[in-house]
Subunit: 281 residues, 3 copies
């Protein structure tokens, strides 16, 4: 690709992404979550910070009914059990019927048999708009082996490009891999985002929160590929801004608070100015 074409591609994506944030601010989408106990409060607050409205109704006795009212559904298996997986499937089916986008975060898949089986069960029983994970998780879901240590991976991500394409084709959905370089693929189409800071991996839940942001964007626009890119770029840029605000003696506690600040102050203009996205590796 020539430099001029490359620039055109980046410009086009940045236009789409900043327009997505305007759409989100306008729509204030209701994002239903069935998520984990560790970061559920963070997911709610990040959804509010970006301009959405969060709701968490994990019980199987209401999860589908709530999903039917929502603009997007986020499923996260961070602290799954057999009951929560059943509730997720109920909710996803209800959302699928109404064409409400469903976003999956397969936290720690591959780390235990329960997670791997549950992720497969979800995939067999529901259609997803976006699946977002780290490199290990996406490689595992695509059928590759991957060593997993905990749930907070900080691998570079690029090693998972092939797996992401394979998984995207097999599930007919957008697949996003977050890492030092973030990858978003839809079939053969791929874009790469270089925003972010290593500090994001020193706070729990930045992956979960990124998935919530993707949910908020997918609940506001029709294109899950742009929704995934917009959510990931919003997190990356907000991480950079949060890092730049830190003073001496401040550490991960303040960084985490600055992250919410930055997301709540994010504008379409800031996305256009700071976004580092390209159509080539």
């Amino acid at each position: 690709m020539s430099n001029s074409l490359k620039n055109q591609c980046s410009e086009y994506l940045l236009e789409q992404i900043s327009a997505a944030l305007s759409a989100l601010h306008e729509k204030k989408p209701l994002v239903h979550h069935i998520t984990n106990d560790v970061t559920v409060n963070d997911c709610a607050n990040i959804t509010l910070a970006i301009g959405g409205s969060p709701v968490m109704a994990p019980s199987i006795d209401e999860s589908a009914e709530m999903a039917a009212c929502a603009d997007a559904l986020v499923l996260n298996i961070g602290t799954l059990d057999k009951r929560s997986i059943e509730s997720m499937i109920h909710a996803a089916k209800a959302a699928n019927e109404l064409s409400i986008p469903v976003v999956l975060d397969p936290v720690g898949v591959g780390a235990t048999a329960l997670r791997t089986e549950s992720a497969r069960k979800l995939i067999e029983n529901a259609r997803f708009a976006v699946v977002r994970g780290n490199a290990s998780e996406i490689m595992l879901l695509a059928g590759e082996c991957a060593g997993i240590k905990g749930v907070d991976s900080s691998e570079s991500g690029m090693e998972a490009l092939g797996s992401a394409i394979k998984l995207s084709k097999s599930l007919s959905c957008t697949v996003a891999v977050t890492g030092a370089v973030d990858i978003i693929v839809s079939g053969e189409k791929a874009v790469f985002i270089k925003n972010g800071t290593p500090m994001l991996s020193r706070v729990t839940g930045t992956g979960c929160m990124c998935t919530s942001l993707i949910g908020a964007f997918c609940g506001s626009i029709r294109d899950p590929f742009i929704g995934a890119a917009a959510g990931i770029m919003s997190m990356g840029i907000s991480g950079e801004v949060a890092k730049s605000m830190l003073k001496e003696e401040e550490g991960t506690g303040t960084f985490r608070i600055r992250l919410f600040d930055s997301v709540s102050n994010l504008t379409p203009q800031r996305l256009r100015e700071m976004g580092d996205i390209s159509c080539e590796k």
Copy 2:
């Protein structure tokens, strides 16, 4: 009412409310919560910040035993399921027997059949000192229809005055509606609080935390009407102080932290000076 009578009424309420905070600081009430997974940490920290001692024992195998030791019991249906509702009823009955005040936060009632049925079940099986909700929730409980979007409503609240009076009479308890103007009613008696800031609706759990503050006050003084007003005013004033402390580039993350700061630094004097309460609409 003449201006002089109006002022007398406000003065009287401010005296009662600031005395309630002194009583709370003195007593350090133990506030038992059966609450939701999203904001449970916030409820514990706000209870500590105001000077109380929080305890959360949601299991049906201990919830009633813990309630019997507490100075107040807070029930919040934010992420209810069938088991948690049973546990709440057990705990409420134990509290009722010992005349320990019980405060109900019917989060999202009306949004799903489970929430509506569960709230009704709680009301049928236990007596409450205070029910606090937003306008939609109180109108729904009083038998009016109301559209609900998510669980974080920001309606003005005044449209729910009639419903609040109706509900207060039917349950023989104090009913509080939080919104742009907060309403506290007990039978025909009503007071109105205008403290607060719209930023409170951009952080999850400010409603839940307000209910926890009401619980802490009701565990410290005998009058649930004043307890409800004191909890709501404490939240509103702390929101104003938190907002005023924000610097450029700070957003909802820092605001949330400043809210805990302000509650932890709240004094009877500040309540008297900043409290905006009146006996007329």
Copy 3:
């Protein structure tokens, strides 16, 4: 003991403790938690802040499998129920078989029959490297009566020295009592730490987080006695640093964030310089 011997003892302990932090930074231990819903996010973030990697897999269908991959296992009964206790026993047995250290936080034991029975069941079915509690909890476990108010005790702790020694002998493990003075005992051996600030008791979860830090240290070095002392001293010193950073109008909200900051910036050098540990009461 002569002053010179006393100093030698303190010097020796400070050397061991600061070396333990270097080992932790090097190893980045995976710390599996089965813990409570109130402070689970705090436990994850404090584990990351000190340099470890947290994982929470509470379901009985995966807790043992995850424990077998971890460097340490932390069990906390803060919001226990019958299912979570079974899951804890499964996980502890798996850890015991592989000599992975298990740390127990018996939150609120004595406050209800469920907590007391569950703690006894855990003790009968698993071996612990460290048990950490406040004075009431350790006294109760050792068979003494103790009045418990809530789960956030702020007793001085020294009254529990005898109980700690008794419990340590009966369980053949390190027992730590946190309070105004922290006590760490192993059989007849005892050390005393005077770091900390009363503000630590005005934030929920500082006990739970202290136990997570102990878990991270025990997952990095072989000596649970030093691991317990290192975790407790890290929390105490970080509390002092956090307190010293507070400005006017800041309160418990900012203190809590500064605590994460201080833990994330903690160095072996700071432990050596600020550590206040002695081998005599």
